[in-house]
C-alpha cells in the first residue's frame, strides 16, 4: 500500500487539490496544463464572451490528428488503389466509415470554427495592441486550415476530389507570371495525376500539420503572455492614465522604474531568474475578480471538448462522407465545383478570372493581416469603432453570400439555377 502511495506521489507531486497551493501547483507543475495561468478572470471564462471557438477549433484539430493517423494505416496515395482503399474503408474496415466520417466532418467544422473564431476576435477588438502579431499568426492558421482541407480533398480520388482540385488549382493559376508555375509545382505536372496525389498527401499528412502545430503553440503562448483572453467588453473600465506600477523595491527605497499599469494583466510573476523581485500593484477588486483555473476553467474546457467530440460523433453516425465514382479525367461533371469554402472565389472567377482569382483573394489576405496595424483606434468599445465593424461585417456577409451563391445557385455551365429548380442532364 505504501509502495502504491509512493509511486502515486512520485507521479503527482502537487499538494492536495483542497488547498490553494495544490490548485496552483496542478497548473504549473503540469507540462500540459501550464499554458494556463493558475488563476483566470471570472468574466473571461464565460461562454457568452468567446463561445470557446478557439478551444473548439483546437479540439477539432485533435480529432483530425487522431482519426487522420488511424486513416493513414488504410490509405495508399496512388490513384487507382487510393479509391479502392476508400471503398475498403466503406465496406471492409471495422468502423471504417465512422473513422472517415469523423475526419471529414471535423475538417469541415474546423474551417467553419476558425472563421467564426476570427470573427469573434475581430468583433471584440481583441487583436489590438499588444496582440497584433497574434492576429497575424491567426490569419496564417486560417490559411493553413484551408490548405489542409484542400489537400485532403484530393485524397479519396473520386470525381468530387479530382474536379474540385482541378478547378481549385486552376483558380490559382490565374495569378500573373507565377500562377502557372505555382500550379505546376503543386501538381507536379500540368494535370491532376499521380504526382499531384503524392504531393497533396505529403502536404496533408506531414508538412501542413507540422506547421499548424508549431504556429498553434506560438498562438497559445502569446495569448498566455498577453494575460489570457482579452477582457470582455462589458468589463472594460475607463482608461486610467495615472495608475502606475512601481518596479524595484518596497516603498521606502527609491523605485528602479515606474511604468503605466496594464489594464489586463492579472497574473503576477512568482519569481524572476535574476535581479530583484517584482511587486505588482493589484487592486482589491481585481483580486476578487479572479478564480482558480482548477476547476473553473478546466471544467468548462472539458465540457467544450466533450461537446465537440459528441457532436462530431453524432453527425458521423448518421451522415456518410461523400464518395463519388472513381476519378475520371475524361468525364467532366457540369458544373465542376471547387470545395465549398472556395466557391466564393469560384463565383468571383466566373465574373473575372484575374480579378476574382488573384487580385481580390490576395487583397483579402493582405487586408486581414494588415488589420491590427492599420486600425490604430485604441478603443475596443463597439461605439468607438463603428467604421471598422461595418467594413468587417461587409467582408463577412459578402464572403458568405458568395459561397451560398456558388454552392446552391449555380448549375451546369455555371448558369444561375436556384436549388428548387431541377435540371435534367441530357445524354449526348
Amino acid at each position: 500500500m505504501n509502495l502504491i502511495r509512493e509511486i502515486w506521489r512520485s507521479i503527482v507531486r502537487r499538494d492536495p487539490l483542497s488547498t490553494d497551493k495544490g490548485k496552483s501547483e496542478l497548473v504549473f507543475l503540469n507540462v500540459w496544463l501550464h499554458i494556463h495561468p493558475a488563476k483566470v478572470k471570472k468574466e473571461n471564462i464565460k461562454f457568452r464572451y468567446s463561445f470557446y471557438l478557439g478551444f473548439i477549433t483546437f479540439f477539432l484539430f485533435l480529432i483530425l490528428l487522431t482519426t487522420g493517423i488511424a486513416l493513414m494505416f488504410y490509405y495508399r496515395p496512388y490513384p487507382s488503389v487510393a479509391y479502392q482503399d476508400m471503398k475498403d474503408l466503406q465496406f471492409a474496415v471495422f468502423m471504417g466509415p465512422f473513422l472517415r466520417n469523423m475526419h471529414r466532418w471535423a475538417a469541415q467544422a474546423m474551417v467553419l470554427c476558425v472563421f467564426l473564431h476570427m470573427c469573434r476576435v475581430f468583433y471584440t477588438g481583441s487583436y489590438k495592441k499588444p496582440r497584433q502579431f497574434n492576429w497575424v499568426i491567426g490569419v496564417m492558421l486560417l490559411l493553413l486550415t484551408l490548405g489542409l482541407s484542400f489537400t485532403g480533398y484530393l485524397l479519396p480520388w473520386d470525381q468530387l476530389a479530382y474536379w474540385a482540385i482541378t478547378v481549385g488549382t486552376n483558380i490559382g493559376s490565374y495569378a500573373p507570371l507565377i500562377g502557372g508555375r505555382l500550379r505546376e509545382l503543386l501538381l507536379g505536372g500540368h494535370t491532376v495525376g499521380e504526382a499531384a496525389l503524392i504531393r497533396f498527401y505529403v502536404l496533408h499528412v506531414a508538412i501542413l500539420p507540422s506547421l499548424v502545430i508549431l504556429l498553434t503553440i506560438v498562438h497559445f503562448w502569446r495569448v498566455r503572455k498577453d494575460g489570457g483572453l482579452s477582457r470582455p467588453l462589458w468589463k472594460l473600465k475607463p482608461r486610467k492614465t495615472e495608475a502606475l506600477v512601481t518596479i524595484g523595491a518596497p516603498a521606502e527605497v527609491a523605485p528602479l522604474h515606474v511604468a503605466a499599469a496594464s489594464q489586463d494583466k492579472t497574473y503576477g510573476l512568482m519569481e524572476v531568474v535574476t535581479g530583484k523581485p517584482i511587486f505588482e500593484t493589484v487592486t482589491p477588486e481585481e483580486e476578487e475578480d479572479t478564480v482558480f483555473s482548477y476547476p473553473y476553467a478546466f471544467v468548462r474546457e472539458a465540457v467544450a471538448l466533450m461537446a465537440t467530440v459528441t457532436t462530431i460523433m453524432t453527425v458521423s453516425l448518421f451522415f456518410n462522407a461523400p464518395l463519388e465514382e472513381m476519378a475520371n479525367p475524361a468525364v467532366t461533371p457540369n458544373p465542376a465545383k471547387a470545395p465549398w469554402y472556395f466557391l466564393g472565389l469560384q463565383e468571383l472567377v466566373s465574373h473575372s478570372a484575374l480579378l476574382g482569382g488573384v487580385v481580390i483573394p490576395a487583397l483579402m489576405v493582405i487586408a486581414l493581416i494588415a488589420i491590427p496595424y492599420f486600425d490604430k483606434n485604441p478603443s475596443r468599445r463597439p461605439r468607438d469603432r463603428k467604421w471598422a465593424l461595418w467594413v468587417f461585417t461587409f467582408f463577412v456577409v459578402a464572403n458568405v453570400a458568395l459561397i451560398i451563391i456558388g454552392t446552391f445557385f449555380r448549375g451546369p455551365g455555371w448558369a444561375w439555377v436556384p436549388p428548387w429548380v431541377h435540371v435534367v442532364a441530357r445524354p449526348e
Binding site: S80, Q84, K87, D88, Q90, F91, A92, F94, M95, G96, P97, F98, D158, Q159, P295, Y296, V299, R300, A302, V303, M306, A307, V309, T310, M313, T314, S316, L317, L323, E324, E325, R426, P427, E428
Partner: protein, 462 residues
Amino acid sequence: MERRLQQVFFGLSLLALVLILATEWQASTPSWKNYQRKYLQLEAQEEPNAASKAAVLATPLAINQVILPGLQRVDRCTTCHLGVEDPTMKNVPEPFRYHAGLEPHVPSKFGCTICHGGQGLATDMKDAHGNVAFWQNPLLPADYVRASCGRCHKEGEVPGVPELTEGRHLFETEGCHGCHKLNGVGGSIGPDLTAEGANHRSPEWLVRHFLTPNVVSPGSAMPNFHFTQEQARALSYFMLSLTSQDMGSYYSSMQLIPSPEFGRQLFVEKDCMACHAIGGVGGKTAPDLAGVTKRHSTEWLDEQLVNPELVYPGSSMPEYDLESNARKALVAFLASATPEDAQLILARKGHPLTPQDAAIEAGKQDFARFGCAGCHGTELQGGVPNPNAQGEQVPSLLHVSDDYTKDEVIAIIRDGMVPPLDNPKGLTPPLYMPSWKSVLSDEDINRIADFLWSKQEKKESW
C-alpha cells in the same frame, strides 16, 4: 453552476461512450454476417450428427474476396453468394443458389462483376448490386448478362450468344462505321463507340435508342434504321460488350473461342484442301486428314501446325503463323470433319473472278466495310431523312452518273461535301458527306467508284 457543469461533462462523456458502442455495434453487425450464418445453418442441416453440425456452425465468418489484377477488380460477391460453386445448393433461395453452367468461368479466375456488373468491393446488398448513387455499373438484367461475353471474346462466334454475333454482323452490314468510330476505324459524325459499354447506359435505353433514336436523344443525327425488336436487342448486346478496358493477358488470349466453326472458317480461308483431302475428297499431295485427331495427340497436331519441318523434316507444308486459339480451332474442326464437309467446301469454292469483277467486288466490300451503306443504303437507295438537305433526305446513288462524272464522284468521296440546302436560311442538315481521304486510299476510292458505276440504273429513255 460548477456542479451543473460537472454533470454536463459526465453526461456528455456518457453520451460519447454510448455513441462509440452504437458505432461498434453497427460495425460488428454487417448484413453479410447474417447471410453467412444462414448459409452455415443450411450446411449444418446436411450434417449427420450433432458434433459435425456444431463444427460447421463454428466456422469463422469472413469476407471472401477474389483479387483479379488482370480484370482490374476485387470481387467480394462470394461473401454472401456462398453456394455459387456447390451443386447441392441447386434448390435453395438466393443469395445461396448454385450457379449452373459456370465452367470454365469459375469465380476464382473471373470474379462475378466482369459479367454481371455491380460493385464487387461492396459487402451489403444495395451497394453490391450497384443501384446506388455514384456507382454507374449496376447489375445487368439477367437477360443481358450474356452480352458481357463479348468483353473478352471480341471476335468470332460465341457459343450460346447468337445476339452478340447478330449485333456485330448488323454493325458491319448496316454501315454503322460510316458515322461511328470503333477501335480507330470509322467516321466522326456520331460518337466513338470503342468504349460504349463503359458509358453505363442501361440495356433498355440502348434498345429504345436503336428503335427510335430521335425520341431518345432529341436532335440526334442518327437515322432511324427501322430495326426490329430483335435487331435492336442484338445491337444493344454488342454495345454493352464494347469496352476499351485493358484485360490481362490471360483474358485477352480468349478473344477467339477455338470452336469447330471457326476452325472450319480457317480451313477454307487457308485453302487446306488444295493439298489435303478429308476421306478422299480434296487434294492428293498431302496426307488425308480423316481421323487425323485419332492418329495423333493434340500436342503433336499443334506442333505440326506451328512448325511442320520440325515434325516431318522435308515436309512441304508451309508455316501458317496461326495463333494458339486458331490452331486449337483447326484441330477441333478436324476432329469432327467428314467427307460431306469437304464436298460442301469444294462446291462453294467457285471460280476465280476476272480482274475487273474482282475490283468491283473489292469496291462493294469497301462500301460495306467503311459504312457508306449507313446513309446511302445497302442497295444504294438512299432515303435516310436529312432535314433541310435538298429533298430532305440522303440522295440515292443509283443515278449519280446522270449528274456527275466518275472523276467528280471520286473527288466528292475524297474531299467530302455539304449537301445543298433546301432552305438557305435554315439549319445545317445533321448529315453530310465526310472527307474520306485520311481513311481510304486512292485505290479504295477508285474501286468504290467502279462499284457505283456497275450499279447505275439506265436513264429512262423517251
